[in-house]
């Protein structure tokens, strides 16, 4: 069994642009890296039956989700030549226009990061038990389902 510590990927509320900027800055000392690739999931103003989404409230089966994020990390490092990888996902309320998912992969060369990032994001969407409740401007809601 893998004894590596399971990280907590969840952050309360939206992921700020300052946090993302600092994450990039922290990699300036890692000079074997030649390419970063970043995915930012943003809450969209979906319009459903004439009603506009104003925010998403995220909940998760946190223990299972953190294990799945860990498995995804391990599988991605096996598949691609990456120097490092960071994943953050919001819990609680994230308003439209704010960031709810931040995936950051780094490698010596560009080709690996393009492929790795798509793989990680698709794995997260299909395997992480995270649930989004979409709130409309009139305070009604519906449960989001990934496409």
């Amino acid at each position: 069994m893998n004894e590596k510590k399971i990280k907590n990927v969840f952050k309360e509320g939206a992921i700020s642009s300052e946090f993302i900027g600092q994450a990039i800055a922290k990699h300036q000392s890692k000079t074997t890296i030649g390419a970063h690739n970043i995915f930012l999931g943003q809450v969209r103003t979906d319009e459903i039956n004439g009603k506009k989404v104003s925010a998403i409230m995220y909940t998760a089966y946190e223990d299972m989700a953190n294990e799945k994020f860990h498995d995804i990390r391990e599988a991605t490092f096996k598949k691609f030549n990456l120097t490092c990888m960071h994943i953050y996902h919001s819990l609680g309320q994230v308003n439209t226009g704010e960031i709810c998912l931040f995936v950051f992969v780094s490698s010596p060369h560009r080709k690996e990061v393009f492929e790795a990032l798509e793989y990680v994001v698709e794995e997260i969407k299909s395997k992480a038990p995270v649930f989004g409740k979409e709130f409309f401007e009139d305070d009604t809601h519906q449960w989001k389902v990934n496409q």
């Binding site: 909940t59 089966y61 996902h89 969407k125 409740k133 449960w143």
Partner: protein
């Protein structure tokens, strides 16, 4: 056996609770689903997966007494 059952998202809304202990004689996930569908009739029309001990389990899986979770479709990211 006594099972700890967790509910998430839409399912937690239907059951009006996030977690409960149930006493059950069922031996498989399929029997557990049948038990829960009788307790919560609105579950019958809903799409969900079951996790046992934090792994997705098929309906033939034997109940081990470890933590069970009812998971509606994922919508992370």
């Amino acid at each position: 056996m006594t099972l700890k059952v967790k509910y998430f998202g839409l399912i937690a809304e239907l059951t009006a609770c996030e977690e409960e202990s149930i006493e059950i004689s069922a031996t498989s996930i399929a029997e557990l689903i049948q038990f829960l569908s009788e307790k919560y009739p609105s579950l019958k029309s809903k799409d969900f997966q079951i996790a046992q001990n934090r792994e997705i389990a098929s309906i033939e899986t034997t109940l081990t007494g470890e933590e069970i979770a009812l998971l509606p479709p994922f919508s992370g990211g």
